[in-house]
Protein backbone atom coordinates (compact mmCIF):
# COMPACT_ATOMS: atom_id res chain seq x y z
CA UNK A 1 0.00 0.00 0.00
CA UNK A 2 1.49 3.34 -0.94
CA UNK A 3 1.21 6.50 1.06
CA UNK A 4 -1.74 7.88 -0.92
CA UNK A 5 -3.71 4.70 -0.44
CA UNK A 6 -3.02 4.66 3.26
CA UNK A 7 -4.35 8.21 3.47
CA UNK A 8 -7.60 7.01 1.92
CA UNK A 9 -8.47 5.13 5.12
CA UNK A 10 -8.12 1.69 3.46
CA UNK A 11 -10.92 2.69 1.09
CA UNK A 12 -13.56 1.87 3.68
CA UNK A 13 -16.76 3.92 3.20
CA UNK A 14 -18.23 5.64 6.26
CA UNK A 15 -21.54 3.78 5.91
CA UNK A 16 -22.28 0.17 4.86
CA UNK A 17 -22.43 -0.24 1.11
CA UNK A 18 -25.09 -2.91 1.39
CA UNK A 19 -27.53 -1.99 4.20
CA UNK A 20 -29.38 -5.30 3.74
CA UNK A 21 -26.31 -7.30 4.83
CA UNK A 22 -25.74 -7.42 8.61
CA UNK A 23 -22.42 -6.11 9.86
CA UNK A 24 -20.78 -8.33 12.47
CA UNK A 25 -19.13 -6.69 15.45
CA UNK A 26 -15.51 -7.18 16.45
CA UNK A 27 -16.60 -8.14 19.99
CA UNK A 28 -14.08 -8.85 22.71
CA UNK A 29 -10.32 -8.96 22.29
CA UNK A 30 -10.43 -12.74 22.28
CA UNK A 31 -13.50 -14.05 20.52
CA UNK A 32 -14.18 -17.76 20.80
CA UNK A 33 -13.36 -19.76 17.70
CA UNK A 34 -16.17 -22.18 18.44
CA UNK A 35 -19.18 -22.33 16.18
CA UNK A 36 -22.64 -21.95 17.71
CA UNK A 37 -23.28 -25.69 18.04
CA UNK A 38 -19.70 -26.76 18.72
CA UNK A 39 -18.56 -28.57 21.83
CA UNK A 40 -16.04 -26.61 23.90
CA UNK A 41 -13.95 -27.06 27.00
CA UNK A 42 -13.20 -24.13 29.31
CA UNK A 43 -9.64 -22.87 29.89
CA UNK A 44 -7.78 -26.06 28.99
CA UNK A 45 -4.36 -24.44 29.44
CA UNK A 46 -5.08 -23.08 32.90
CA UNK A 47 -6.65 -26.31 34.07
CA UNK A 48 -3.85 -28.47 32.70
CA UNK A 49 -1.25 -26.28 34.35
CA UNK A 50 -3.02 -26.47 37.71
CA UNK A 51 -3.02 -30.25 37.38
CA UNK A 52 0.65 -30.35 36.43
CA UNK A 53 1.47 -28.08 39.35
CA UNK A 54 0.02 -30.58 41.79
CA UNK A 55 2.79 -33.09 41.12
CA UNK A 56 5.59 -30.74 40.01
CA UNK A 57 6.38 -28.08 42.61
CA UNK A 58 9.04 -26.55 40.36
CA UNK A 59 6.37 -25.43 37.86
CA UNK A 60 5.73 -21.68 38.10
CA UNK A 61 3.42 -19.26 36.30
CA UNK A 62 4.50 -15.78 35.18
CA UNK A 63 2.65 -13.21 33.16
CA UNK A 64 2.94 -9.63 31.93
CA UNK A 65 -0.46 -8.30 33.00
CA UNK A 66 -2.35 -10.88 30.95
CA UNK A 67 -3.22 -13.63 33.43
CA UNK A 68 -6.95 -13.42 32.77
CA UNK A 69 -6.47 -13.27 29.03
CA UNK A 70 -4.26 -16.34 28.87
CA UNK A 71 -6.16 -18.51 31.41
CA UNK A 72 -3.18 -18.31 33.76
CA UNK A 73 -5.42 -16.76 36.43
CA UNK A 74 -6.72 -20.26 37.13
CA UNK A 75 -3.20 -21.39 38.02
CA UNK A 76 -2.76 -18.22 40.09
CA UNK A 77 -5.88 -19.06 42.09
CA UNK A 78 -4.87 -22.69 42.63
CA UNK A 79 -1.18 -22.04 43.36
CA UNK A 80 -0.97 -18.39 44.47
CA UNK A 81 2.53 -18.81 45.92
CA UNK A 82 3.82 -20.00 42.55
CA UNK A 83 2.37 -17.21 40.46
CA UNK A 84 4.35 -14.09 39.56
CA UNK A 85 2.73 -10.96 38.19
CA UNK A 86 5.64 -9.28 36.39
CA UNK A 87 3.77 -6.21 35.19
CA UNK A 88 3.32 -5.08 31.61
CA UNK A 89 7.03 -5.57 30.97
CA UNK A 90 7.51 -8.39 28.48
CA UNK A 91 11.28 -8.05 28.21
CA UNK A 92 11.61 -8.45 31.96
CA UNK A 93 9.07 -11.29 31.85
CA UNK A 94 11.36 -13.37 29.65
CA UNK A 95 14.52 -12.47 31.57
CA UNK A 96 13.01 -13.17 35.00
CA UNK A 97 11.79 -16.51 33.68
CA UNK A 98 15.35 -17.21 32.54
CA UNK A 99 16.64 -16.37 36.02
CA UNK A 100 14.10 -18.67 37.67
CA UNK A 101 15.01 -21.45 35.23
CA UNK A 102 18.69 -20.94 36.13
CA UNK A 103 17.65 -21.70 39.71
CA UNK A 104 16.00 -24.97 38.74
CA UNK A 105 12.38 -23.96 38.21
CA UNK A 106 10.19 -24.57 35.15
CA UNK A 107 8.49 -21.26 34.41
CA UNK A 108 5.41 -21.09 32.20
CA UNK A 109 5.18 -17.50 30.96
CA UNK A 110 2.18 -16.01 29.22
CA UNK A 111 1.50 -12.94 27.12
CA UNK A 112 0.12 -12.35 23.64
CA UNK A 113 1.93 -13.93 20.71
CA UNK A 114 2.46 -10.54 19.04
CA UNK A 115 4.37 -9.21 22.03
CA UNK A 116 6.41 -12.36 22.68
CA UNK A 117 7.51 -12.64 19.08
CA UNK A 118 7.99 -9.04 18.03
CA UNK A 119 9.00 -7.41 21.28
CA UNK A 120 10.98 -9.98 23.23
CA UNK A 121 12.79 -11.95 20.56
CA UNK A 122 16.30 -11.04 21.72
CA UNK A 123 15.48 -11.75 25.34
CA UNK A 124 14.18 -15.20 24.51
CA UNK A 125 17.10 -15.83 22.15
CA UNK A 126 19.94 -14.73 24.41
CA UNK A 127 18.39 -15.05 27.85
CA UNK A 128 16.65 -18.39 27.37
CA UNK A 129 17.32 -20.35 24.17
CA UNK A 130 21.09 -19.85 23.91
CA UNK A 131 21.40 -21.31 27.39
CA UNK A 132 18.90 -24.12 26.72
CA UNK A 133 16.72 -23.12 29.66
CA UNK A 134 13.36 -24.89 30.17
CA UNK A 135 11.11 -21.83 29.90
CA UNK A 136 7.67 -22.51 28.38
CA UNK A 137 6.35 -19.47 26.52
CA UNK A 138 2.60 -19.88 26.04
CA UNK A 139 0.94 -17.13 24.06
CA UNK A 140 -2.64 -16.25 23.32
CA UNK A 141 -3.82 -14.59 20.09
CA UNK A 142 -1.67 -16.50 17.61
CA UNK A 143 -2.21 -15.67 13.95
CA UNK A 144 -5.64 -14.25 13.21
CA UNK A 145 -7.55 -14.91 16.44
CA UNK A 146 -8.50 -11.35 17.28
CA UNK A 147 -10.22 -8.66 15.28
CA UNK A 148 -8.28 -5.85 16.91
CA UNK A 149 -5.93 -5.35 13.98
CA UNK A 150 -2.18 -5.77 13.43
CA UNK A 151 -1.10 -4.58 16.90
CA UNK A 152 -2.51 -7.81 18.34
CA UNK A 153 -2.64 -10.16 15.33
CA UNK A 154 0.51 -12.29 15.48
CA UNK A 155 0.35 -13.37 11.87
CA UNK A 156 4.15 -13.82 11.65
CA UNK A 157 5.00 -15.31 15.06
CA UNK A 158 6.00 -18.72 13.70
CA UNK A 159 8.12 -17.11 10.98
CA UNK A 160 9.91 -15.10 13.64
CA UNK A 161 10.46 -18.00 16.02
CA UNK A 162 11.38 -20.67 13.47
CA UNK A 163 14.73 -18.94 13.05
CA UNK A 164 15.61 -19.35 16.70
CA UNK A 165 17.91 -22.35 17.31
CA UNK A 166 16.85 -24.92 19.92
CA UNK A 167 13.35 -23.48 20.34
CA UNK A 168 10.54 -26.02 20.07
CA UNK A 169 7.35 -24.60 18.50
CA UNK A 170 3.95 -26.11 19.28
CA UNK A 171 0.65 -25.14 17.63
CA UNK A 172 -2.14 -27.18 19.22
CA UNK A 173 -5.53 -27.66 17.60
CA UNK A 174 -8.10 -27.75 20.38
CA UNK A 175 -8.75 -28.18 24.10
CA UNK A 176 -7.64 -31.82 24.12
CA UNK A 177 -4.41 -30.97 22.31
CA UNK A 178 -3.62 -28.16 24.75
CA UNK A 179 -4.35 -30.26 27.83
CA UNK A 180 -2.04 -33.02 26.63
CA UNK A 181 0.62 -30.64 25.37
CA UNK A 182 1.09 -28.88 28.73
CA UNK A 183 2.68 -31.84 30.58
CA UNK A 184 4.55 -32.85 27.42
CA UNK A 185 6.26 -29.48 26.98
CA UNK A 186 7.00 -29.34 30.71
CA UNK A 187 8.78 -32.68 30.40
CA UNK A 188 10.90 -31.39 27.50
CA UNK A 189 14.29 -30.19 28.75
CA UNK A 190 14.48 -26.97 26.77
CA UNK A 191 12.62 -23.83 25.73
CA UNK A 192 9.21 -24.10 24.09
CA UNK A 193 6.94 -21.61 22.36
CA UNK A 194 3.31 -22.72 22.37
CA UNK A 195 0.46 -20.96 20.58
CA UNK A 196 -2.47 -20.80 22.93
CA UNK A 197 -6.23 -20.86 22.51
CA UNK A 198 -8.01 -19.66 25.63
CA UNK A 199 -11.51 -19.31 27.06
CA UNK A 200 -14.08 -21.76 25.69
CA UNK A 201 -11.83 -23.70 23.37
CA UNK A 202 -13.35 -26.04 20.75
CA UNK A 203 -13.08 -29.76 21.43
CA UNK A 204 -12.79 -31.94 18.32
CA UNK A 205 -9.86 -34.32 18.59
CA UNK A 206 -11.57 -36.56 21.15
CA UNK A 207 -13.53 -37.97 18.20
CA UNK A 208 -10.32 -39.27 16.67
CA UNK A 209 -7.78 -41.86 17.67
CA UNK A 210 -5.35 -39.19 18.73
CA UNK A 211 -2.89 -38.38 21.46
CA UNK A 212 -0.51 -35.41 21.55
CA UNK A 213 3.13 -36.41 21.34
CA UNK A 214 5.78 -33.70 21.20
CA UNK A 215 7.53 -33.76 17.83
CA UNK A 216 5.05 -36.12 16.18
CA UNK A 217 2.60 -35.48 13.34
CA UNK A 218 -0.56 -37.61 13.38
CA UNK A 219 -2.86 -38.61 10.56
CA UNK A 220 -6.44 -38.01 11.67
CA UNK A 221 -8.19 -39.31 8.56
CA UNK A 222 -7.26 -40.72 5.17
CA UNK A 223 -8.30 -39.81 1.65
CA UNK A 224 -7.12 -40.36 -1.91
CA UNK A 225 -7.29 -36.99 -3.65
CA UNK A 226 -5.96 -34.39 -1.24
CA UNK A 227 -3.56 -34.43 1.68
CA UNK A 228 -4.14 -31.50 4.03
CA UNK A 229 -1.19 -30.88 6.31
CA UNK A 230 -2.22 -28.50 9.07
CA UNK A 231 -1.47 -27.14 12.51
CA UNK A 232 -3.35 -25.25 15.19
CA UNK A 233 -7.06 -24.67 14.80
CA UNK A 234 -6.66 -25.01 11.05
CA UNK A 235 -6.65 -28.77 11.70
CA UNK A 236 -10.19 -28.35 13.03
CA UNK A 237 -11.04 -26.48 9.85
CA UNK A 238 -9.30 -29.12 7.74
CA UNK A 239 -11.39 -31.88 9.33
CA UNK A 240 -14.55 -29.93 8.55
CA UNK A 241 -13.40 -29.29 5.00
CA UNK A 242 -12.60 -32.99 4.56
CA UNK A 243 -16.17 -33.86 5.53
CA UNK A 244 -17.53 -31.35 3.04
CA UNK A 245 -15.25 -32.70 0.30
CA UNK A 246 -16.33 -36.23 1.15
CA UNK A 247 -19.92 -35.20 0.43
CA UNK A 248 -18.67 -34.25 -3.03
CA UNK A 249 -16.86 -37.61 -3.32
CA UNK A 250 -13.44 -36.05 -2.94
CA UNK A 251 -11.20 -37.95 -0.56
CA UNK A 252 -9.17 -35.70 1.75
CA UNK A 253 -6.63 -36.91 4.28
CA UNK A 254 -5.69 -34.71 7.24
CA UNK A 255 -2.24 -34.80 8.81
CA UNK A 256 -2.10 -32.77 12.02
CA UNK A 257 1.33 -31.28 12.77
CA UNK A 258 1.11 -29.78 16.26
CA UNK A 259 4.89 -29.51 16.56
CA UNK A 260 6.13 -27.11 13.90
CA UNK A 261 9.72 -27.28 15.05
CA UNK A 262 11.31 -29.74 15.07
CA UNK A 263 9.20 -30.99 12.19
CA UNK A 264 8.20 -34.67 12.05
CA UNK A 265 9.93 -35.05 8.71
CA UNK A 266 9.55 -38.82 8.41
CA UNK A 267 5.77 -38.79 8.80
CA UNK A 268 5.30 -35.81 6.49
CA UNK A 269 7.52 -37.36 3.81
CA UNK A 270 5.73 -40.71 4.09
CA UNK A 271 2.33 -39.07 3.68
CA UNK A 272 3.31 -36.63 0.96
CA UNK A 273 5.24 -39.38 -0.84
CA UNK A 274 2.10 -41.34 -1.53
CA UNK A 275 1.52 -40.75 -5.22
CA UNK A 276 -1.15 -38.71 -6.85
CA UNK A 277 -2.38 -36.50 -4.02
CA UNK A 278 -2.40 -32.75 -4.06
CA UNK A 279 -0.72 -31.39 -0.94
CA UNK A 280 -2.39 -28.45 0.81
CA UNK A 281 -0.72 -26.94 3.87
CA UNK A 282 -3.19 -25.04 6.04
CA UNK A 283 -2.09 -22.72 8.82
CA UNK A 284 -3.32 -19.81 10.89
CA UNK A 285 -0.27 -17.77 9.91
CA UNK A 286 1.25 -15.66 7.17
CA UNK A 287 2.06 -17.44 3.93
CA UNK A 288 5.67 -16.49 4.69
CA UNK A 289 7.85 -18.50 7.02
CA UNK A 290 5.33 -20.84 8.63
CA UNK A 291 4.38 -24.49 8.33
CA UNK A 292 3.73 -24.17 4.58
CA UNK A 293 7.25 -23.06 3.78
CA UNK A 294 8.69 -25.57 6.24
CA UNK A 295 6.88 -28.42 4.48
CA UNK A 296 7.70 -27.07 1.01
CA UNK A 297 11.43 -26.94 1.65
CA UNK A 298 11.35 -30.36 3.27
CA UNK A 299 9.65 -31.89 0.23
CA UNK A 300 11.93 -30.16 -2.25
CA UNK A 301 15.05 -31.03 -0.29
CA UNK A 302 13.96 -34.65 -0.10
CA UNK A 303 12.96 -34.99 -3.75
CA UNK A 304 9.34 -35.66 -2.86
CA UNK A 305 7.38 -33.64 -5.39
CA UNK A 306 3.58 -33.86 -5.18
CA UNK A 307 1.56 -33.19 -8.36
CA UNK A 308 0.33 -29.93 -6.85
CA UNK A 309 1.29 -27.97 -3.75
CA UNK A 310 -0.90 -25.20 -2.33
CA UNK A 311 -1.01 -23.08 0.80
CA UNK A 312 -4.03 -22.04 2.83
CA UNK A 313 -2.54 -19.20 4.84
CA UNK A 314 -2.90 -15.54 5.65
CA UNK A 315 -1.59 -13.02 3.12
CA UNK A 316 1.72 -11.23 3.64
CA UNK A 317 -0.02 -8.05 4.80
CA UNK A 318 -1.14 -6.11 7.83
CA UNK A 319 -4.66 -7.46 8.15
CA UNK A 320 -7.94 -5.68 8.68
CA UNK A 321 -9.77 -5.13 11.93
CA UNK A 322 -13.26 -6.62 12.21
CA UNK A 323 -15.21 -9.68 13.28
CA UNK A 324 -13.30 -12.95 13.14
CA UNK A 325 -15.80 -14.83 10.91
CA UNK A 326 -15.66 -11.94 8.44
CA UNK A 327 -11.88 -11.88 8.49
CA UNK A 328 -11.46 -15.66 8.27
CA UNK A 329 -13.68 -15.61 5.18
CA UNK A 330 -11.89 -12.61 3.73
CA UNK A 331 -8.45 -14.18 4.10
CA UNK A 332 -9.41 -17.71 3.10
CA UNK A 333 -9.02 -19.62 6.37
CA UNK A 334 -12.72 -20.27 7.08
CA UNK A 335 -13.98 -23.76 6.25
CA UNK A 336 -16.15 -22.32 3.48
CA UNK A 337 -13.33 -20.40 1.83
CA UNK A 338 -10.90 -23.28 2.24
CA UNK A 339 -13.23 -25.88 0.67
CA UNK A 340 -14.00 -23.58 -2.23
CA UNK A 341 -10.32 -22.98 -2.84
CA UNK A 342 -9.41 -26.67 -2.69
CA UNK A 343 -12.21 -27.55 -5.11
CA UNK A 344 -10.97 -24.84 -7.43
CA UNK A 345 -7.40 -26.13 -7.26
CA UNK A 346 -8.54 -29.66 -8.00
CA UNK A 347 -10.22 -28.28 -11.13
Amino acid sequence: MNRTQRRSWRGIPAAPQDPSKPRLTTSAMIASLAGADQRTSPAPFGRALVELGRTRPEVLGLTADLAKYTDLHIFAQAHPDRFYQMGMAEQLLMLAAAGLAHEGFVPFVTTYAAFASRRTFDFISQGIAEEGLPVKICCALPGLTTGYGPSHQATEDVAIFRGMPDLTIVDPCDALDIEQAVPAIAAHDGPVYMRLLRGNVPLVLDEYDYRFELGRAKRLRDGGEVLIISSGFMTMRALEVAKRLEADRIGAAVLHVPTIKPLDEATILAEAGRTGRMVVVAENHSVIGGLGEAVATLLLRSGVIPPRFRQVALPDAFLDAGALPTLHDRYGISAEAMSANIKGWLG
Partner: protein, 283 residues
Protein backbone atom coordinates in the same frame (compact mmCIF):
# COMPACT_ATOMS: atom_id res chain seq x y z
CA UNK B 1 35.77 -19.71 49.36
CA UNK B 2 33.29 -19.47 52.13
CA UNK B 3 35.26 -17.09 54.29
CA UNK B 4 36.60 -13.93 52.70
CA UNK B 5 40.17 -14.80 51.87
CA UNK B 6 41.38 -11.26 52.36
CA UNK B 7 41.18 -11.69 56.10
CA UNK B 8 43.10 -14.97 56.10
CA UNK B 9 46.67 -14.85 57.29
CA UNK B 10 49.21 -14.49 54.47
CA UNK B 11 46.52 -13.97 51.86
CA UNK B 12 47.33 -11.27 49.35
CA UNK B 13 45.69 -7.92 50.03
CA UNK B 14 42.97 -6.55 47.79
CA UNK B 15 45.33 -4.11 46.06
CA UNK B 16 47.62 -7.01 45.23
CA UNK B 17 44.64 -9.00 43.92
CA UNK B 18 43.61 -6.04 41.76
CA UNK B 19 47.17 -5.74 40.44
CA UNK B 20 47.19 -9.43 39.47
CA UNK B 21 43.77 -9.11 37.81
CA UNK B 22 45.10 -6.21 35.73
CA UNK B 23 48.21 -8.16 34.87
CA UNK B 24 46.18 -11.19 33.77
CA UNK B 25 44.00 -8.92 31.63
CA UNK B 26 47.02 -7.32 29.95
CA UNK B 27 48.54 -10.72 29.22
CA UNK B 28 45.25 -11.83 27.60
CA UNK B 29 44.99 -8.58 25.70
CA UNK B 30 48.43 -9.20 24.25
CA UNK B 31 47.17 -12.48 22.74
CA UNK B 32 44.62 -10.53 20.71
CA UNK B 33 46.61 -7.31 20.32
CA UNK B 34 43.53 -5.31 21.17
CA UNK B 35 40.29 -5.47 23.12
CA UNK B 36 38.33 -4.21 26.06
CA UNK B 37 41.48 -3.63 28.05
CA UNK B 38 40.54 -0.24 29.42
CA UNK B 39 37.35 -1.58 30.95
CA UNK B 40 39.18 -4.52 32.49
CA UNK B 41 41.83 -2.27 34.04
CA UNK B 42 39.11 0.08 35.27
CA UNK B 43 36.94 -2.60 36.91
CA UNK B 44 39.80 -4.62 38.47
CA UNK B 45 39.36 -3.12 41.94
CA UNK B 46 35.61 -3.85 41.92
CA UNK B 47 36.31 -7.45 40.90
CA UNK B 48 39.01 -7.83 43.54
CA UNK B 49 36.63 -6.71 46.27
CA UNK B 50 33.82 -8.86 44.82
CA UNK B 51 35.81 -12.09 44.59
CA UNK B 52 38.18 -11.66 47.53
CA UNK B 53 35.97 -9.91 50.03
CA UNK B 54 32.24 -10.21 49.30
CA UNK B 55 31.40 -13.36 47.34
CA UNK B 56 30.98 -16.86 48.72
CA UNK B 57 32.05 -19.53 46.22
CA UNK B 58 34.12 -22.67 45.80
CA UNK B 59 36.74 -22.39 43.05
CA UNK B 60 36.72 -26.15 42.46
CA UNK B 61 32.91 -26.28 42.21
CA UNK B 62 31.58 -23.33 40.18
CA UNK B 63 28.02 -24.69 40.34
CA UNK B 64 28.00 -25.06 44.13
CA UNK B 65 24.43 -24.34 45.23
CA UNK B 66 25.63 -22.27 48.17
CA UNK B 67 27.50 -19.73 46.02
CA UNK B 68 26.58 -16.11 45.59
CA UNK B 69 25.65 -15.60 41.94
CA UNK B 70 27.75 -13.07 40.02
CA UNK B 71 26.29 -12.15 36.63
CA UNK B 72 28.37 -10.45 33.96
CA UNK B 73 25.71 -8.58 32.04
CA UNK B 74 28.42 -6.82 30.04
CA UNK B 75 29.66 -9.79 28.03
CA UNK B 76 32.49 -7.79 26.48
CA UNK B 77 34.04 -7.40 29.95
CA UNK B 78 34.73 -11.15 29.79
CA UNK B 79 38.48 -10.48 29.73
CA UNK B 80 38.13 -8.86 33.14
CA UNK B 81 36.08 -11.71 34.57
CA UNK B 82 38.51 -14.32 33.20
CA UNK B 83 41.30 -12.35 34.85
CA UNK B 84 39.64 -12.57 38.26
CA UNK B 85 38.50 -16.19 37.76
CA UNK B 86 42.14 -17.11 37.06
CA UNK B 87 43.24 -15.26 40.19
CA UNK B 88 40.48 -17.00 42.17
CA UNK B 89 41.57 -20.43 40.92
CA UNK B 90 38.38 -21.18 39.00
CA UNK B 91 40.25 -21.19 35.67
CA UNK B 92 43.86 -22.43 35.41
CA UNK B 93 46.36 -19.69 34.63
CA UNK B 94 47.67 -21.74 31.72
CA UNK B 95 44.47 -21.02 29.78
CA UNK B 96 45.23 -17.33 29.74
CA UNK B 97 47.17 -17.63 26.49
CA UNK B 98 44.15 -19.15 24.73
CA UNK B 99 42.04 -15.99 25.19
CA UNK B 100 39.92 -15.37 22.12
CA UNK B 101 41.54 -18.14 20.08
CA UNK B 102 39.73 -20.99 18.31
CA UNK B 103 38.27 -23.63 20.65
CA UNK B 104 39.21 -21.65 23.75
CA UNK B 105 37.04 -21.70 26.86
CA UNK B 106 37.71 -17.96 27.02
CA UNK B 107 35.87 -16.32 24.09
CA UNK B 108 35.88 -12.57 23.52
CA UNK B 109 32.30 -12.21 24.80
CA UNK B 110 31.33 -14.09 27.93
CA UNK B 111 29.05 -17.11 27.56
CA UNK B 112 27.86 -19.48 30.26
CA UNK B 113 28.34 -22.63 28.19
CA UNK B 114 32.03 -21.89 27.54
CA UNK B 115 33.53 -20.87 30.84
CA UNK B 116 33.45 -22.23 34.40
CA UNK B 117 32.25 -19.50 36.72
CA UNK B 118 30.39 -17.58 34.00
CA UNK B 119 26.78 -17.61 35.20
CA UNK B 120 25.05 -16.22 32.11
CA UNK B 121 25.65 -15.35 28.49
CA UNK B 122 25.72 -11.57 28.60
CA UNK B 123 26.71 -9.44 25.67
CA UNK B 124 23.32 -8.49 24.33
CA UNK B 125 23.45 -5.51 26.63
CA UNK B 126 20.73 -4.91 29.15
CA UNK B 127 19.75 -8.51 29.89
CA UNK B 128 21.70 -9.22 33.08
CA UNK B 129 19.60 -7.30 35.57
CA UNK B 130 16.34 -8.92 34.44
CA UNK B 131 17.88 -12.39 34.79
CA UNK B 132 19.19 -11.33 38.20
CA UNK B 133 15.62 -10.44 39.23
CA UNK B 134 14.50 -13.96 38.31
CA UNK B 135 17.44 -15.55 40.13
CA UNK B 136 16.79 -13.44 43.23
CA UNK B 137 13.13 -14.52 43.18
CA UNK B 138 14.29 -18.11 42.71
CA UNK B 139 16.73 -17.97 45.63
CA UNK B 140 13.96 -16.63 47.84
CA UNK B 141 11.72 -19.50 46.74
CA UNK B 142 14.50 -21.88 47.81
CA UNK B 143 14.85 -20.00 51.11
CA UNK B 144 18.50 -19.41 50.28
CA UNK B 145 20.30 -16.53 51.96
CA UNK B 146 22.70 -16.07 49.02
CA UNK B 147 23.03 -12.89 47.00
CA UNK B 148 22.75 -12.24 43.29
CA UNK B 149 25.25 -9.68 42.02
CA UNK B 150 24.80 -8.14 38.60
CA UNK B 151 27.71 -6.24 37.08
CA UNK B 152 26.62 -3.78 34.43
CA UNK B 153 28.02 -0.68 32.76
CA UNK B 154 26.85 2.89 32.47
CA UNK B 155 26.32 2.37 28.74
CA UNK B 156 23.78 -0.32 29.59
CA UNK B 157 21.69 2.29 31.39
CA UNK B 158 20.52 3.30 27.89
CA UNK B 159 18.66 -0.01 27.56
CA UNK B 160 14.96 -0.04 28.43
CA UNK B 161 14.82 -3.50 30.06
CA UNK B 162 17.23 -2.27 32.73
CA UNK B 163 14.49 -0.02 34.02
CA UNK B 164 11.81 -2.69 33.75
CA UNK B 165 14.07 -4.85 35.93
CA UNK B 166 14.89 -1.99 38.30
CA UNK B 167 11.19 -1.31 38.88
CA UNK B 168 10.49 -5.00 39.34
CA UNK B 169 13.30 -5.48 41.87
CA UNK B 170 11.93 -2.58 43.89
CA UNK B 171 8.39 -3.89 43.63
CA UNK B 172 9.38 -7.38 44.79
CA UNK B 173 11.66 -5.95 47.53
CA UNK B 174 14.61 -8.04 46.37
CA UNK B 175 16.99 -7.47 49.25
CA UNK B 176 19.15 -10.33 47.96
CA UNK B 177 20.02 -8.44 44.77
CA UNK B 178 23.08 -6.21 44.51
CA UNK B 179 23.60 -4.36 41.24
CA UNK B 180 27.04 -2.92 40.54
CA UNK B 181 27.15 -0.20 37.90
CA UNK B 182 30.52 0.59 36.37
CA UNK B 183 30.45 4.26 35.46
CA UNK B 184 33.58 4.67 33.35
CA UNK B 185 31.92 7.36 31.24
CA UNK B 186 32.85 5.77 27.93
CA UNK B 187 30.81 3.75 25.47
CA UNK B 188 31.20 2.70 21.83
CA UNK B 189 30.37 6.05 20.24
CA UNK B 190 31.97 8.25 22.86
CA UNK B 191 31.49 9.79 26.29
CA UNK B 192 28.49 8.00 27.77
CA UNK B 193 26.68 11.00 29.22
CA UNK B 194 27.02 12.59 25.79
CA UNK B 195 25.62 9.53 24.01
CA UNK B 196 22.58 9.47 26.30
CA UNK B 197 22.61 11.32 29.59
CA UNK B 198 21.80 9.02 32.51
CA UNK B 199 22.40 11.51 35.31
CA UNK B 200 21.26 12.13 38.00
CA UNK B 201 21.90 8.46 38.52
CA UNK B 202 21.48 8.07 42.29
CA UNK B 203 18.09 9.79 42.12
CA UNK B 204 16.91 7.42 39.39
CA UNK B 205 17.73 4.25 41.33
CA UNK B 206 16.37 5.75 44.52
CA UNK B 207 13.10 6.58 42.78
CA UNK B 208 12.84 2.92 41.74
CA UNK B 209 13.07 1.84 45.37
CA UNK B 210 16.75 0.91 45.66
CA UNK B 211 19.29 1.44 48.44
CA UNK B 212 21.87 3.55 46.60
CA UNK B 213 25.56 4.09 47.18
CA UNK B 214 28.01 5.86 44.89
CA UNK B 215 31.72 5.32 45.42
CA UNK B 216 35.12 5.71 43.82
CA UNK B 217 35.32 2.37 42.06
CA UNK B 218 39.11 2.39 42.14
CA UNK B 219 39.31 2.79 45.92
CA UNK B 220 39.31 -0.68 47.46
CA UNK B 221 38.64 0.55 50.99
CA UNK B 222 35.63 2.52 49.81
CA UNK B 223 34.45 -0.51 47.83
CA UNK B 224 34.78 -2.82 50.82
CA UNK B 225 32.68 -0.44 52.90
CA UNK B 226 30.07 -0.16 50.14
CA UNK B 227 29.82 -3.92 49.56
CA UNK B 228 29.51 -4.46 53.32
CA UNK B 229 26.81 -1.83 53.60
CA UNK B 230 24.96 -3.34 50.64
CA UNK B 231 25.05 -6.81 52.18
CA UNK B 232 24.08 -5.71 55.67
CA UNK B 233 21.52 -3.04 54.79
CA UNK B 234 18.43 -3.83 56.86
CA UNK B 235 15.59 -2.46 54.74
CA UNK B 236 13.83 -4.89 52.37
CA UNK B 237 14.96 -3.32 49.12
CA UNK B 238 17.44 -4.08 46.33
CA UNK B 239 20.87 -2.50 46.50
CA UNK B 240 22.92 -0.70 43.89
CA UNK B 241 26.55 0.32 44.11
CA UNK B 242 27.42 2.93 41.50
CA UNK B 243 31.17 2.77 40.95
CA UNK B 244 32.91 5.67 39.27
CA UNK B 245 35.96 4.12 37.65
CA UNK B 246 38.80 5.30 35.47
CA UNK B 247 39.26 3.63 32.09
CA UNK B 248 42.64 1.85 31.83
CA UNK B 249 43.37 2.56 35.51
CA UNK B 250 46.88 1.60 36.48
CA UNK B 251 48.56 2.14 33.10
CA UNK B 252 48.99 5.91 32.76
CA UNK B 253 49.81 6.04 29.03
CA UNK B 254 46.62 4.05 28.28
CA UNK B 255 44.56 6.13 30.72
CA UNK B 256 45.48 9.14 28.61
CA UNK B 257 43.98 7.73 25.41
CA UNK B 258 40.69 9.24 24.35
CA UNK B 259 39.48 6.36 22.18
CA UNK B 260 39.46 3.80 24.94
CA UNK B 261 36.30 1.72 24.36
CA UNK B 262 38.17 -0.82 22.22
CA UNK B 263 41.85 -0.20 22.77
CA UNK B 264 44.41 -0.90 20.10
CA UNK B 265 47.81 -1.45 21.62
CA UNK B 266 50.94 -1.84 19.49
CA UNK B 267 52.92 -5.03 19.89
CA UNK B 268 55.80 -3.30 21.67
CA UNK B 269 53.45 -1.49 24.03
CA UNK B 270 52.27 -4.55 25.95
CA UNK B 271 55.56 -4.95 27.75
CA UNK B 272 55.53 -1.22 28.47
CA UNK B 273 52.00 -1.50 29.84
CA UNK B 274 52.96 -4.31 32.19
CA UNK B 275 56.04 -2.36 33.26
CA UNK B 276 53.89 0.73 33.93
CA UNK B 277 51.55 -1.44 35.96
CA UNK B 278 54.45 -2.91 37.92
CA UNK B 279 55.84 0.59 38.55
CA UNK B 280 52.56 1.65 40.10
CA UNK B 281 52.18 -1.50 42.17
CA UNK B 282 51.31 -0.55 45.73
CA UNK B 283 51.87 -3.92 47.34
Amino acid sequence: MEAPSAVRANAPGLEERAYRIRRNALRMGEVQGQGYIAQALGIADVLAVSYFHALRYRPEDPHWEGRDRFLLSIGHYAIALYAVLIEAGVIPETELETYGTDDSRLPMSGMASYTPGMEISGGSLGIGLGIAVGMALGLKRKRSDRFVYNLMSDGELDEGPIWEAAMSAGHHKLDNLICVVDVNRMQADGVSTGVLNFEPLQDKWQAFGWFVQRVDGNDTAALVAAFDAARHHAAPQPRVIICDTRMAKGVPFLEAREKSHFLRVEAHEWAEAIKALDDGRTA
